[in-house]
Symmetry: C2
Subunit: 485 residues, 2 copies
C-alpha cells in the first residue's frame, strides 16, 4: 500500500485474453509499413522504394477507388440539410440530380438529424429498406424487426459472439484460413475456436468430412460447439461456395444443432460462379422439406465496407437473424443498446447501398457506369496479379474468383526457413517482412489467417492501381529465391 | 444429436454475463415510449397525450437542438469533395465561408477519403489536433501518440475496461449514482463493480471516507481493485467536482495504486463552478511535489455527443492516456485494431469540436452565436424544470449545475410502494411507468443509475423545448400523490 514505485498496469497483469488475441491484418508488418510511409512523407530518400502499397487490408478508398457519386451527394445533404433550401443551385450548378434530393429528403424525414442517436437496433425505416432488399435478393420475405444495424460487420460479429458464447467451453467452428476477426474476438471473449480447414484443392470450398472431424474432436474434448462461421465469398480465399457446399453446411448445422453465422460481406465481389445467400438456400430447403429445417438459427452479415461501395471508413453494416428465439433477440437488443447505436450516417449509407438508383432514375446511368468501372477494374487487377504469380517460382494461385484478395501458396527453400527461424519468425512472416523492406508492398502472411500445417501463403488485395508494384513483387521474389536457394 | 425439436440458443443458455447486464437508459420504459411514438405516428388518438417526450436520454438533436452550422458545412464537403470544384457557388450562393472551405481542404488532405479506414487509433493529424487542444485547455503538453479516437466515449470506456480487468476478481470503483454504461460493461466482462456513493447533501460531490470504505471492504473480500471511475461533470447528477475533490481522488489513487478513469464528456456543460480536468490537476500536483505522482495512470474521455456539439449520432470521441506503460498501450492499439477504426467522419467532427472557428475567422460570429444560444437555452430549460420540481410535494432537487440532467429525490407514499411491489417493480420504476402512461414523458428511475438504499430518484434531461411537458409532470405528480396518499 502507498507504493508508487511502479505503474498499476503492465503487460503481465492486464487482461490475458486481450493479450492472447492476434490480429495480423494490422499487426507488426502494417505498423512498419506506416512507419515507412511517414519516413517517405518526411522526405527520407534512402529507402529502396518511393511509395508504400498497403495491400494488407481491403481499404479501397485508401488506394484508387473513388466513392460512388450518388452515395456521397446524398450524404452531403444529410450532413447539411440547409443545402436543400437551394434546390435550383444543387441541380443547375452542382450536378445534383432530382433523385438525390428526393432521397435525402426522404431519409431526413425518416431519420431526423444524423447527429441524433437512432433506436439501438437502427432507424426503423432503414431496417425496412434492408428487409425489402433481402426480399428482392432472395425471393423470400424478411422482417425489419430481425435486422440490426451495426458499425461495420465487425461490430455485428462481436455482438453475435458475445451472445452465443456462454463460457470458455463454448466453441465456434471457424474456417481456416479465416479473417482473423473471428479468432481475435473469441480470444478476447475467452471462448473456444474450433478450426476447420478449407480445401485448397477444391478452390477453398468446404469439405464436410473435415468439418465433421473437427466438430467430433472438439466435442470429445468437452467443447460445447454452438455455431459455425462461414465466410462466403471467402476472405482471405476469394472463393464462392457452391450450392452443394451451402446445402451440406445447413444440413450439418441441423444435425448438430449449430447456429450458422454467414459472413456475406463480399456478396457483390464475385467474378466466378454466383453468390447464393444462406438465407435463400435455407428458405428453399424449408420449402422442399417442410418442418425439417424449422429450428435452424441463421445470422447473416453485410456491410458498406466492401463490394463496389468500399466505404469502410463509414463503419456501416447490419445483420439479419433468422429463426432466433425472441427472448434471445431481446438480449441482443440490450447488448447493442449499451453502445447506444451504430453511426447514423453509416446507417444511411446502408440504406443507399441496398436501395441504389434504378433504371429510369436520373442518377442511374452514372451510378451504373461507376459501379461497373469499379467491378471491371477489380477483375482486371486481379487477373494481372494472378498472371504475375503464375510466373513466380514456387508460387501457386487459383484463378481469381472474387472478394478483394488473392491467397497464393508459396514454397520457400529450406535456407529461407532457417533464416526465418533465426529471427524467431515463421517462414511466411520472414518472406513478407523482406518483401516490405525491399518493395514497400505490405501483404499479410498466411499464418495471420491460419493455414494447413507445412503450407505457406500470403494474402494480398488487388486494389492497388498500376502494374509497377506487381513487377516489384516479381523481381523481389526472384532475388529472394536466388539468395536462399 | 440430430434433434431439431428446439433452437440452439435460449434465454437460459446464452452468455449469462450479457443476460445479467442492466441498461435502463434504453430499457423497458424507453421501449414502451417508442411503442407509444409509433402508435401516435400511426394515427392512434386514444392516448392521454399527443406527443412522446424522450427525456430518458441525452439526445439533443432528437429534440430541439440544431447542429452547429460550421460543423455540418465542413462535413458536407468531406462527404462530397466534388463540391470544392465550385467554391464560388459555395461562397456566393450557399453561405459557405472561406474558413469552412479551407478546413475541409485541410482535413481531406490529412484524412484522404472519409470512406477509407484510418489508422486504428485514429487519423494522426486529428490526434495532433486533439493534443494541441488539450495543451491549450490544460496548460500542459499532450502527445498525439497517447490519444485514441473512439466511436463515442462509450466505445473508449469499453476498451479501457477490457484492458484493465484481468478476471472476475478485478474490481473497478464506480460512483453511485452512475451512468449505467459502467455497470453494464463490467457485467458483460464478468469483472467486479465496486460501488461508492456520492454525497447528495454536498451537491453529489465525492466523499473520500466513503470511497475508502468501499475500497477497503472490497479488498477485504478479495477483490483486486484496479481503477476508479469519476464522472465529472456528473451523470446523472450534473455536479462539477471541486478542485479539492479532484485532488483527494488523485491522492487516493496514488496511495492505492488505482488507474483513474475520468469521464469528462460534459466538460462544457457547466453552469455553476468551473470544469477542472483531471489531467491539469495531476500535472499541477506533479509540479508541486516532484516525483510523488509520477506513477499515476490516468485515462480521460471526451466525445462529440454532448456539450454544445450534441452530435451523438456521429459516434465520435477520444481518450487520452497519461502515464501508461508503452507495452500496455500497444495492447490497447491491438484491441482497437480488431474493430479497425472509429468512424472517420466522426473523427473529423472531433477535430472540428476541439478546433472551432476563432475570433477573426469568417465563421466565428455565427459559431459563437449558435454556441451561446444552445448554452443559454439549456440553462433556461434547466431552471424552468427545477422551478417546477420545487413546487412538487415530496420532491427535492439541487439547483442545476451542469451536464444535461436533473436528478431529483422523490418521496412516495407507502401505498405507492405497495402498489409497486404488487407489480414486481421498485417504487421509482412504478412512478416513472405511470408518468409515461399518463403524460408521454419518458424519464429513467433512479434505480437505473443506483441510489442510496431507501432513497428514490429519477433522471430527466432538460433538453426538450417548451413548458407544456413540464406542466404535465407537475399535474401527474399531484394526481399520483393524491391517489396513493
Amino acid at each position: 500500500m502507498g507504493s508508487t514505485s511502479a505503474r498499476r498496469l503492465n503487460i503481465n497483469n492486464i487482461n490475458p485474453h486481450v493479450k492472447a488475441a492476434k490480429y495480423a491484418v494490422r499487426g507488426e508488418l502494417a505498423v512498419k509499413s506506416e512507419e515507412y510511409r511517414a519516413y517517405l512523407q518526411g522526405g527520407v530518400t534512402d529507402l529502396p522504394f518511393s511509395k508504400v502499397i498497403s495491400a494488407n487490408i481491403g481499404n479501397p478508398q485508401q488506394l484508387d477507388q473513388k466513392p460512388i457519386t450518388f452515395f456521397r451527394q446524398v450524404l452531403s445533404l444529410l450532413e447539411n440539410p440547409a443545402l436543400l433550401k437551394h434546390e435550383d443551385v444543387l441541380v443547375n450548378q452542382l450536378d445534383y440530380k432530382p433523385d438525390v434530393i428526393e432521397r435525402a429528403k426522404r431519409l431526413l424525414k425518416q431519420v431526423g438529424s444524423v447527429g441524433a442517436y437512432s433506436a439501438s437496433n437502427g432507424v426503423p425505416a432503414i431496417r425496412q429498406s434492408i428487409a425489402d432488399f433481402l426480399e428482392r435478393r432472395d425471393g423470400f420475405p424478411a422482417k425489419q424487426s430481425d435486422i440490426y444495424l451495426s458499425a461495420g460487420a465487425s461490430s455485428g460479429v462481436n455482438t453475435l459472439l458475445h451472445i452465443i458464447c456462454a463460457d470458455a467451453k463454448s466453441g465456434i467452428l471457424v474456417p481456416i484460413p479465416q479473417y482473423p476477426l473471428y479468432t481475435a474476438s473469441l480470444s478476447v471473449l475467452d471462448a473456444t475456436c474450433v478450426p476447420y480447414l478449407l480445401d485448397e484443392s477444391k478452390n477453398w470450398g468446404t469439405d464436410l468430412d473435415i468439418i465433421k472431424e473437427s466438430h467430433a474432436k472438439a466435442t470429445a474434448e468437452g467443447v460445447d460447439v454452438r455455431a459455425i462461421v462461414i465466410i462466403n465469398p471467402g476472405n482471405p480465399t476469394g472463393a464462392s461456395l457452391s450450392a452443394e457446399d451451402i446445402r451440406s453446411v445447413i444440413d450439418f448445422a441441423r444435425e448438430e444443432r449449430l447456429v450458422i453465422i454467414a459472413d456475406e460481406v463480399y456478396q457483390t465481389n464475385v467474378f466466378v460462379g454466383e453468390f447464393i445467400s444462406f438465407k435463400r438456400m435455407l428458405r428453399e430447403m424449408q420449402q422442399e422439406k417442410p418442418g425439417v429445417y424449422d429450428s435452424i438459427e441463421l445470422a447473416s452479415l453485410h456491410s458498406v465496407s466492401k463490394g463496389m461501395v468500399g466505404e469502410c471508413g463509414h463503419r456501416g453494416g447490419y445483420f439479419e437473424l433468422v429463426g432466433f428465439d425472441p427472448e434471445v433477440q431481446a438480449e441482443i437488443y440490450k447488448f447493442v443498446s449499451i453502445m447506444l447505436c451504430a453511426p447514423v450516417i453509416g446507417q444511411c449509407l446502408v440504406d443507399l447501398m441496398v436501395n441504389p438508383p434504378r433504371p429510369g432514375d436520373a442518377s442511374y446511368e452514372l451510378y451504373q457506369q461507376e459501379y461497373n468501372a469499379i467491378f471491371n477494374g477489380l477483375r482486371e487487377r486481379a487477373t494481372a496479379l494472378h498472371k504475375a504469380f503464375e510466373q513466380m517460382e514456387g508460387v501457386e494461385c487459383g484463378a481469381p474468383q472474387g472478394s478483394m484478395y488473392l491467397f497464393p501458396t508459396i514454397q520457400l527453400p529450406p535456407k529461407a526457413a532457417e533464416a526465418a527461424a533465426a529471427e524467431g519468425r515463421t517462414p511466411d512472416e520472414f518472406y513478407c517482412m523482406r518483401l516490405l523492406e525491399a518493395t514497400g508492398v505490405c501483404v499479410v502472411p498466411g499464418s495471420g489467417f491460419g493455414q494447413k500445417d507445412g503450407s505457406l501463403h500470403f494474402r494480398t488485395t488487388f486494389l492497388a492501381p498500376g502494374t509497377e508494384w506487381v513487377g516489384s513483387i516479381v523481381k523481389f521474389h526472384r532475388e529472394f529465391m536466388d539468395k536462399y536457394r
